[in-house]
């Protein structure tokens, strides 16, 4: 358990590490999935290619989509792409960076599946057994073409009566497996060379742009996470106040009714003002959360966050976030407006 906790902490240290961890996990799951899958070639002329190629390509597609789903950053990227510009302009470089990082991680598991399938050879043998050239193998000299095709379709099935213990089947099977493994290793080599070149050559092009894009895409990710946490905090605060308010108003109602019953003659006491919720709150750190206290206000806050993100400039006067949100009233009006409210 300690081991897992340490490993978990190591991976949690940054969001990139978390995504790398998920990517690795998905790759391990792919390996396990492949080894536990029971490959079952139909050994019929037209269905072989369909089954073999289907099994080579459909699971990778599913794994790719899983990789995209499991990655939180894909949602962040789409949000950043589709939001209205508001006070903060959009930088296509950041969106491209996030997109490429999401795609790279999502491609790892499908590639593992394809490489395993090619190195193992069963898919390839099943799909291409009918496309083998019979001239290469002397054992087919005495058979008619249709017999040859029928035989070739049965090559992937070792236990079939027609081809059991047939040297011709073994020769064809060997040939196809060898081809499959060669293709698998070539593809692996090409991918690794591409990855190596990409890693080596990236600093040669626009390194400063890269540093900036990496910083700001990390920032967008962090900001989204922090906003979610702040909203949760606010929701908790809101719920707490709402519940306390309810209990307080219930209590005062009961008191009022009690008073009314006891003192039928006297004028009923005005219901006690419920305790201001501020007293029950803990800590002064939540001052900025308290004014937002109704459903419409919360909805408005959330829609403003989406449609008009604040500018990336903190040095503006505190409380107004650079450009203000809906309108900015001069401070002298504050006192007059409030005095109107307190009269109510």
């Amino acid at each position: 358990m300690d081991k897992f906790r340490m490993l978990f902490q190591h991976f949690q240290s940054s969001s990139e590490s978390v995504m790398n961890g998920i990517c690795l996990l998905l790759a391990v799951v792919t390996v396990k999935l492949y080894s536990s899958f029971d490959f079952n070639c139909p050994c019929l002329a037209r269905y072989n290619a369909l089954y073999g190629l289907g099994l080579l390509l459909a699971p990778p597609l599913a794994l790719f989509l899983c990789g995209l789903l499991a990655n939180r950053q894909s949602v962040v990227m789409v949000e950043e792409w589709r939001r209205p510009a508001g006070h903060r302009r959009k930088d296509p470089g950041i969106i491209r960076y996030m997109c490429s990082s999401v795609l790279q991680r999502a491609l790892a598991a499908p590639l593992v599946w394809i490489l395993l399938a090619l190195l193992d050879g069963k898919c390839f043998v099943c799909a291409f057994s009918n496309s083998v050239d019979p001239e290469k193998f002397l054992d087919f000299a005495n058979m008619t073409p249709s017999q040859v095709q029928f035989f070739l379709a049965k090559v992937p099935c070792k236990e079939d009566e027609l081809v059991r213990n047939s040297p011709a089947r073994k020769a064809v099977s060997r040939y196809l497996r060898c081809l499959s493994q060669a293709i698998g290793w070539s593809v692996t080599l090409l991918l690794i060379i591409a990855a190596f070149l990409a890693r080596c050559l990236r600093p040669c092009f626009d390194q400063t742009g890269f540093l900036q894009r990496r910083y700001w895409s990390n920032y967008v990710d962090l900001e989204q996470k922090l906003f979610d946490e702040t909203c949760c905090e606010h929701a908790r605060d809101f719920a707490h106040r709402c519940v306390l308010h309810f209990f307080a108003s219930m209590q005062s109602e009961l008191q009022a009714r009690g008073l009314h019953r006891d003192n039928a003659g006297r004028s009923p006491e005005p219901p006690a003002v419920p305790e201001p919720p501020e007293v029950l709150d803990s800590g002064s750190g939540k001052a900025h959360l308290r004014a937002i206290s109704s459903r419409e206000q919360v909805d408005r806050l959330l829609s403003t966050w989406y449609s008009r993100k604040p500018p990336l400039d903190l040095a503006a006067s505190p409380g107004l976030c650079g450009g203000g949100l809906s309108h900015r009233a001069p401070t002298f009006a504050l006192g007059t407006r409030l005095s109107q409210h307190t009269d109510v």
Binding site: P167, R174, C178, E278, I292, L301, D313, L314, C321, T342
Partner: protein, 346 residues
Amino acid sequence: TMDKFRMIFQFLQSNQESFMNGICGIMALASAQMYSAFDFNCPCLPGYNAAYSAGILLAPPLVLFLLGLVMNNNVSMLAEEWKRPPGRRAKDPAVLRYMFCSMAQRALIAPVVWVAVTLLDGKCFLCAFCTAVPVTALGNGSLAPGLPAPELARLLARVPCPEIYDGDWLLAREVAVRYLRCISQALGWSFVLLTTLLAFVVRSVRPCFTQVAFLKSKYWSHYIDIERKLFDETCTEHAKAFAKVCIQQFFEAMNHDLELGHTHGTLATAPASAAAPTPPDGAEEEREKLRGITDQGTMNRLLTSWHKCKPPLQLGREEPLLMGNGWAGGGPRPPRKEVATYFSKV
């Protein structure tokens, strides 16, 4: 034993070199495991045998070598250090050479393991050279000249495949297999001996030459690695503080907005706390973490000058940083001091 494991983990994580040593060990084990899981499948056809065996002997080691380099973060660090403009910090080719050598040495271990295991196992060698077996010496020498060369080749090519071999009248299969495997194992052990000897010589002879230069290169290469990691960590910390302050300001602005234009009576007491612009306690700490960099343009300039004009390796200088980048002279000093104290904590 958990403590031991934790200690080992921490030791390996302590710097990039130790971490890479760990990865290198894991890859060597993975390489051996991969070989045993890999199903060697000799095609047993005259032209294809040699190509397949050469491929299996050479392609996976190349893949493992490049994988070892790719997984090493130092590769992009090396490329960055190589391509950056000198700025105020001169580039030292000796450091670059050291980094490259140390990366290449570690990346070579897994391929060497693969080649050694392949040769010691013998299947690959058998597949490649079965057509070159001396039939006259090992088998029925009298029958061999009677066969045309393609027929002989086709026959011998099937030696690695027991289920389709049909040349027992010419050459017993086990004899050929034993012969080739013996040569393969001899080659394998020689290869292992040679590489170990080479590694030993390089390691023990190197201190006789250029030990001082070596120590300097090692120090500065570790320094560059640690500096890059710390820079990334500082940037992440800064981004977190920036995001926190930005969100707080957003909520405060909303707060302020609502006070100015609504009709709820219960909020009459709230403005008393919000009108005074004192931020909550946590915000002071966050603002300090920002180190004075509070907008996008400034941050971008900082990142640009980190790449284009790395600071000199000399702490405690009086001239302001970023002088050439349009900053006012008096401004940067406070951040500069903070950087110095940060390093001294390390």
